[in-house]
């Protein structure tokens, strides 16, 4: 028996549990309650100013969150990966640890802390909570890429006359892009689509896109909910294709 045939059970599993569900989203999105083909859900979305507004807000928060995570996370990853500045394996563990603690738990803890400190829940706390939740997911892949990077590139650049500053911007940053991309992937889309976090951290004052998907499904408005999900899928598809076949980005995860 050929060993490549060992992939067949999984192929079947993927077909049923990954491919089919996504197809179903598309199917439901394009049907009405009676199972007839219709574009009504889609047109409804584009004319619903609430939904569009929520989407815009979600995008805005996601972009801000991602940018802040990069701004705060890249230096942190760089320091952690630099043996001269950090020799402690424990520090690295401390930065990775939050990723493994239940996200809801962490968000709730943050919300409670804000309560005690008397900070008003709103956009600021939401953004803080998002960064708080997602920062480790940005730091880890960048750290991974930086730590595995061949030091001889930096040495070669220095040898050719580049000062440490130039080495960083012309060599280290470009070569660390797969890690940054990985981080962005793990932060951007999830931010757009979470719902629990925004509920807790804004007392439901700000709704994110994930929230309205959830509300619709819960209210048995499956078709409209599926249409919203379908819309998100398209965006994910576009951004993934934009990235191309990023094998290095996967490597950055593990």
């Amino acid at each position: 028996m050929k060993r490549s045939h060992w992939s067949i059970p999984y192929a079947v599993f993927l077909a049923i549990f990954v491919a089919l569900p996504l197809v179903l989203i598309m199917v439901y999105a394009l049907q009405d309650g009676q199972g007839h083909f219709t574009l009504a859900n889609i047109t409804r979305f584009f004319s619903d100013s609430d939904a569009l507004g929520t989407f815009a807000v979600s995008l805005e928060i996601a972009i801000e969150n991602t940018l802040i995570c990069i701004l705060l996370g890249y230096p942190a990853a760089w320091i952690l990966a630099n043996r001269e500045l950090n020799r402690s394996a424990v520090t690295i563990v401390l930065f990775i640890l939050p990723m493994w603690i239940n996200a809801l738990m962490r968000t709730l803890a943050t919300a409670e802390l804000f309560n005690i400190l008397g900070v008003q829940l709103g956009k600021g706390t939401l953004l803080f909570g998002m960064v708080y939740d997602y920062l480790p997911f940005m730091i880890y892949p960048i750290y991974n890429v930086l730590v595995k990077m061949d030091k001889s590139y930096q040495e070669a650049a220095q040898d050719l006359g580049a000062t440490p500053w130039k080495v960083f911007w012309k060599i280290t940053v470009p070569l660390s892009m797969p890690g940054v991309t990985s981080g962005v992937l793990m932060v951007f889309m999830p931010t757009v689509s979470t719902f629990a976090i925004s509920e807790f951290l804004t007392n439901n004052k700000i709704k994110l896109f994930g929230t309205i998907i959830q509300e619709n499904i819960n209210a048995s408005m499956w078709n409209y909910g599926a249409a919203l999900a379908f819309f998100m899928l398209i965006i994910i598809g576009v951004t993934t294709m934009f990235n191309g076949n990023n094998k290095e980005a996967e490597g950055a995860l593990i």
Partner: protein, 462 residues
């Protein structure tokens, strides 16, 4: 002479943690020469190169460029360029941009960059490759781009760190010829690092042989080949027969049970020495008058250019001989060696000498272990002593736990009728052992010494 020197290393030492990687290195490099740092891995040659390049700073000593100390100058300000062992071509830039990298940093005008890049690409025979991605290139091509990237900046010195190590044999030989050509054309100083002695002999004007952080010998290829100063250099360069010998008197040396006229003087009389004879310098004869010793042919292998034969001499020594003609296995042959071809070298040591301390009347602490010895009169616990052990009186055991010390076989030297091993103990000390047993480099051994073989004398601590 002093104005001739471009680089001068004076009393340079370098340590990594508690390991001394370079010890008191003194070396000068002449402008325009092709000098090679040659030695086994771990000998310190790459460290020396990196010190010159500026990626490391010396713990002691000075590095002078044209007479001025540059130890504190960072690598991006030194007028040298390096060709790295694994090329280190920037994967996110194409060939052109890789080469232009240094020039762009210097803000050279675009048209001049273009001119120089194309010219250097032509020199390494890589024209038309400007737009290619570096990971689409073969090893040899990447190598040339790396060389081009370094040379385009017109450095005063080109540093090469085992640049051909990753190439296959034919490609390596072709590149060696090209490098030599480039050196001739450009006229700049090349500092080359390799562990391949053939490569060093082919390329260099001067060779610096290094081992364990110390310079063993500096000389031209012919000097190093024909007149190695010690058994390490003799063994490292080319094939050789290295044997224990006794200098009978000036110009007469005795080894393998016979006396041979030689050309060396000044070693003294009756002094133990080491002798090197290259395999190609032992000649066959059918004339009994010329015969200096007899032997029986053990094996004969065709090597393409010559035949390689192993013979057992009349006194029980094994020698390697290279000759253009084969001799039948089992046949008795008559051999001689010209006086010129016998290289006499000082022995670095005649027995093991260690510093130790008495634990009690019958035990001494040496090399991190406690050995039993014969009762020593006049010595008590705590006294500082010197212990001597002959090479053939050290016992090596198969299992580390069986011995007083644990060690590893670090280096093997065949001496014609026995092996002369260098053992590295757990604590990092060296121990030399003569044995008939066949060991391999890297074998783990236990070390023991019979009490009667330890010669202990009081050491006067100054």
């Amino acid at each position: 002479m002093a104005g001739d020197r471009i680089i001068d290393l004076q009393h340079v030492s370098k340590r990594f943690g508690d390991k001394t990687v370079l010890e008191d290195i003194n070396l000068y490099i002449r402008k325009g020469e092709f000098i090679t740092l040659l030695g086994p891995s771990g000998c310190g040659k790459t460290t020396t190169l990196r010190l010159i390049a500026g990626f490391l700073a010396p713990d002691e000593g000075e590095i002078l460029l044209d007479g001025k100390d540059i130890s504190a100058i960072p690598p991006y300000k030194r007028p040298f360029n390096t060709v790295f062992q694994r090329y280190a071509l920037f994967p996110h830039l194409d060939v052109y941009d890789n080469i232009a990298f240094g020039l762009k940093l210097q803000k050279v005008p675009t048209d001049e960059i273009d001119r120089r890049v194309r010219r250097v690409l032509k020199m390494v025979s890589m024209t038309d490759y400007e737009e290619r991605d570096v990971d689409s290139l073969s090893g040899g091509q990447q190598q040339r781009v790396a060389i081009a990237r370094a040379l385009v900046n017109q450095p005063k010195i080109l540093l090469l760190d085992e640049p051909l190590a990753a190439l296959d044999l034919k490609m390596r030989k072709d590149m060696q010829i090209e490098l030599k050509e480039m050196h001739r054309e450009l006229g700049i100083t090349f500092i080359y690092v390799t562990h391949d002695q053939e490569e060093a002999l082919t390329l260099s004007d001067t060779i610096v042989v290094m081992n364990e952080g110390k310079i063993q010998q500096i000389g031209t290829p012919t000097d190093i080949y024909n007149e190695p100063v010690n058994s390490f250099v003799a063994d490292f360069i080319g094939e050789s027969n290295i044997l224990n010998a006794t200098m009978v008197r000036d110009r007469l040396v005795s080894f393998i049970g016979h006396d041979f006229p030689c050309v060396d003087e000044g070693f003294g009389e009756g002094v133990p020495v080491d002798v090197v004879v290259r395999p190609e310098d032992i000649y066959f004869t059918t004339n009994p008058a010329r015969c200096q010793f007899r032997a029986k042919v053990n094996s004969c292998t065709f090597k393409g250019v010559h035949y390689e034969m192993y013979v057992d001499t009349d006194n029980g020594f094994e020698l390697m001989i290279q000759d253009y003609d084969p001799y039948e296995v089992g046949s008795e042959v008559m051999l001689y060696i010209e006086p010129d071809d016998i290289q006499v070298m000082h022995k670095e040591r005649t027995c093991n000498t260690f510093e130790g301390k008495m634990v009690d009347a019958t035990h001494v602490e040496l090399l991190g272990g406690t050995f039993e010895c014969l009762p020593q009169e006049g010595l008590s616990a705590g006294d500082a002593v010197t212990a001597e052990v002959d090479f053939d009186k050290v016992d090596l055991l198969d299992h580390q736990e069986e011995g007083v010390l644990a060690g590893e076989v670090h280096f093997l030297l065949y001496k014609g009728d026995h092996y002369h091993l260098t053992i590295l103990t757990e604590d990092g000390d060296h121990l030399w052992v003569d044995t008939d047993d066949i060991w391999d480099k890297g074998d783990l051994v236990g070390v023991d010494i019979a009490p009667k073989d330890l010669k202990i004398t009081r050491r006067n601590e100054a």
